[in-house]
Amino acid sequence: MLWVLVLATIVGCYLLKLAGYLVPARVMDHPRIRHVVELLPVALLAALVVVEAIANGRHIELDGPRLAGFAVGAVAVWRRAPFLVVVVVAAATAALLRQV
């Protein structure tokens, strides 16, 4: 089943990209379509932040090191740190807290 997922993701995402070069520009001139496509990632990304931070399957799991690492990463994002810094400080915080 994972192969089905991998191949469907690859084909689907590529076609979504290619479609933008093929469809006439006036389709996106429709304000409602443009609005939905622009705002959809905001809702999805916010949900993914929450799920990745506090969920473990169907359970809410408040794991100290994970939350601390995320919080430090969030401060780095807020301070407009480069991607590399966000990743390193989040990982280092969680990893170090698990050592103690």
């Binding site: 990209k17 933008g20 443009r34 090191p65």
Partner: protein, 219 residues
């Protein structure tokens, strides 16, 4: 802005996102995907948010359908990017097929930021090349390391939500409507975690668009 500074900035973006590639590679193998499957996703899906979403749903025990739906919904923004890039790049034939693969957040942002179409094309292709190279190299590295190291031991479980937040942040800064939608999406997801199968909280968060905006008015 000269051609040289555009190329330098474009490659800089590529190196920066390489760090996410490592996190993706490790997260993907720990979700149960093989190293080959992980690398294929990075090579040919080549859109980080979608890739993290897909393996995140699988890692949480969600169904293939839920994982695919989250990934494709998140990938739909690339269609919008492609429409914005089409008149700038003016690609045809094989070049258009290749340009489609490279149509992502970073290459679009770099291309539309340029003052003239010639520099937009330089920025698009060099950002694509830089991100593609580093994203795929670091995916492989992350997948290999993730195969032998427990990802939480090196803190990667904290990296994933922070990575999504970094993707979300520029959108939050663009307006109050975006903040309301993000808050609504986050609350919907949090409320549904204990009561729905994994993957559903993320999909259901799309309803935030209905709660937080009056789309009828804007149409």
């Amino acid at each position: 802005m000269t051609r040289r500074t555009v190329i330098r900035d474009s490659l800089g973006v590529g190196i920066a996102v390489g760090a996410y590639g490592f996190a993706f590679g490790a997260a993907s193998v720990s979700a149960g995907l093989s190293v080959v499957q992980t690398c294929l996703l990075s090579l040919f899906t080549f859109t980080g948010g979608t890739q993290f979403a897909v393996v995140g749903v699988i890692a949480g025990g969600g169904t293939v359908a839920a994982a695919l739906a989250s990934g494709l919904l998140l990938g739909s923004r690339n269609t919008l990017y492609a429409m914005r890039l089409a008149p700038l790049l003016r690609v045809r034939g094989v070049r258009r097929l290749v340009a489609a693969l490279g149509t992502i957040d970073e290459s679009t942002a770099m291309a539309v930021a340029q003052p003239e179409p010639e520099l937009s094309r330089v920025a698009f292709w060099w950002t694509f090349a830089g991100v593609f190279t580093f994203w795929n190299l670091t995916t492989l590295l992350g997948a290999l390391v993730g195969s032998v190291v427990d990802p939480p031991a090196i803190g990667l479980d904290a990296v994933v939500p922070a990575a999504f937040l970094a993707l979300l942040a520029p959108r939050l800064r663009s307006g109050a409507l975006e903040k309301r939608i993000a808050l609504a999406g986050a609350l919907i997801a949090a409320a549904l975690i204990p009561v729905t199968p994994p993957g559903v909280p993320v999909l259901a968060a799309c309803a935030a668009l209905l709660l937080a905006t009056d789309l009828r008015r804007s149409g």
